[in-house]
Symmetry: C2
Subunit: 329 residues, 2 copies
């Protein structure tokens, strides 16, 4: 059943059907009614593909993320999807695993399918976008980086000030009287680098010595958090505050600290990052940094929409995270 069938049955030309379909004004009222009746009768849906071929837009955007199972990405992708759906766009989900090859492949098909725009979620794309094979693809399509930035491709960004976020955590611990602080670095992205810097500068600002030595490299997750704490314990160093790069790592830290017989937060204070559900599951609930993925997502969608429809003035922006008090600091 296509537009010709409808036209024939309604006794009009396909142009008229098309006009009715697209709510154009120049159709006589009774003609419109007649066509609409046939449309309804057959529950007719125009082919978005044929439409797309003409308009060269399928009203689709691609969302590239490392792994949708990571709650922070899930929250971001969820909001992006919902917002675009409201605006009449569909979202293609792409789990790149942070890999160059997968990213290139997804971008490839995004181009072939002529998506209207792309959202790159996560600071991993700062690095990935520098790869020439990626960069060359990106110039073709409106693109927004959610919590990422790149100079190589012309693009816009919604940035989260992760540097400031960790500084917030440090300041809070210092205000509580903590002096022997450690930072658990559990990722290797640009964002993770910024968090480190935030820790270092805040610690220095508080007059605490030995900045770099206070950074423990570990893996993201409960295991990583526990191992890092065990490492500190074994070193025999004093500690009264642990700042973590992610909630899930902080959970591990909390477990290990308690297991070692310390009270939280009296003996050792701990902070997480992300204000995720893990923070609330943790016992006691984590004091954490809210990095507002929903807000980042919302602004990214706004930005990309105005880029696609070329309607508004648009510009990149930066969002400030906030401290959320739980029971660990």
């Amino acid at each position: 059943m296509n537009i010709y069938d409808i036209a024939k049955e309604a006794g009009v030309s396909i142009s008229t059907v098309s006009r009715v379909l697209n709510n154009k004004s120049n159709v006589r009222e009774d003609t419109r009614k007649r066509v609409e009746a046939v449309l309804e009768k057959h529950d007719y849906r125009p082919s978005a593909i044929a439409r797309g071929l003409v308009s060269s837009s399928m009203r689709t955007v691609a969302v590239l993320t490392v792994d949708i199972r990571e709650p922070n990405y899930a929250r971001t992708a969820y909001t992006i999807e919902r917002e675009f759906s409201r605006r009449g766009y569909e979202v293609m989900l792409c789990n790149t695993g942070g890999e160059l090859k997968e990213t290139a492949k997804y971008l490839q098909t995004a181009i072939e399918k002529n998506v209207d725009g792309i959202v790159l979620v996560g600071s991993i794309f700062n690095t990935l976008c520098k790869a020439p094979e990626i960069e060359s693809m990106l110039v073709r399509i409106p693109m927004v980086l959610a919590n990422g930035r790149t100079d190589t491709a012309k693009s816009y960004s919604v940035l989260m000030d992760d540097r400031y976020g960790v500084a917030l955590a440090v300041d809070h611990l210092v205000k509580r009287g903590c002096r022997e602080l450690y930072y658990l670095k559990d990722m290797d992205t640009v964002s993770a680098q910024l968090k480190c810097e935030g820790f270092l500068s805040a610690v220095e600002h508080a007059g605490i010595a030995g900045g770099r030595r206070r950074i423990i490299d570990t893996s993201r997750g409960i295991e990583g958090g526990m191992k890092a704490v065990e490492q500190i314990l074994e070193s025999g160093k004093q500690f009264d505050g642990i700042v973590c790069g992610e909630d899930i790592t902080a959970v591990g830290a909390v477990k290990a600290v308690r297991r070692a017989g310390f009270r939280i937060p009296e003996d050792v204070a701990v902070t997480g990052y992300n204000n995720s559900e893990y923070a609330r599951v943790c016992e006691p609930p984590l004091t954490t940094i809210d990095n507002k993925p929903e807000l980042v997502a919302m602004l990214s969608v706004q930005l990309l929409t105005s880029l696609i429809e070329d309607t508004d003035a648009y510009s990149s922006c930066t969002i400030q995270p906030e401290l959320v008090r739980g029971g660990t600091a």
Copy 2:
């Protein structure tokens, strides 16, 4: 830049270009080389839309889920996406919120975009699919229900035996010596109903009386779990085992039980459901039921793929969950 431009530059017809593009064998080697050179030079990508118009397939599937932020759905959707990506399909993400209207809207555009297939994730779709406006749309497209089933539309299912899952939990508690069991019902889907039934039959089978009275209706989440336990405490009834419909609810139960001064699992044993990361975050880690979302996803993709490509014999199937021991039972 389209196929005509390439053809002109390579000095061949568009058919030949098309043949090269699609790796057809009947092209002379040097012609192929010549065309490929031009293709490469311009980094040419054929339009999937134009292709789709001819083949009436964009190699896209829609995945409908309630909310991708729910870890169990995230894991399912992740695996579905990855698997389809491997097979050369893109995935449209649809967060329906479990609402009829949204579901209808997503299915609408899925039809308009002529998706090759649909995966419905979650038992909520058992109910939704019965709505006539939904049912009428579903007959048009190959569809698989991941952990759902419906007789109204011709469809295939990959089912998780949630009835058995909860029975496993009950049996485990009974074996530990628990007799005063309660079940925290925290959802209102078909799957939740099956879990209830599993609880009731397992409890009865163990010779424990008062089945229905042992089911506490509450809301999903930490709050819900805590409130339910407080309710039991206030009633003054004895209890030594709490079976929960979801990990996140079990987390709340654990918190409340401990807060009341009971030891876990010595005084009160608790089980969760989903084998999610929450189970590991919980202190002590939850004993939980692994409902294998990755496996469900994998089989769903296999099923849908063979449905789409009409290659294999295909049939619905049911998966058995497994008990995973943590520290709460």
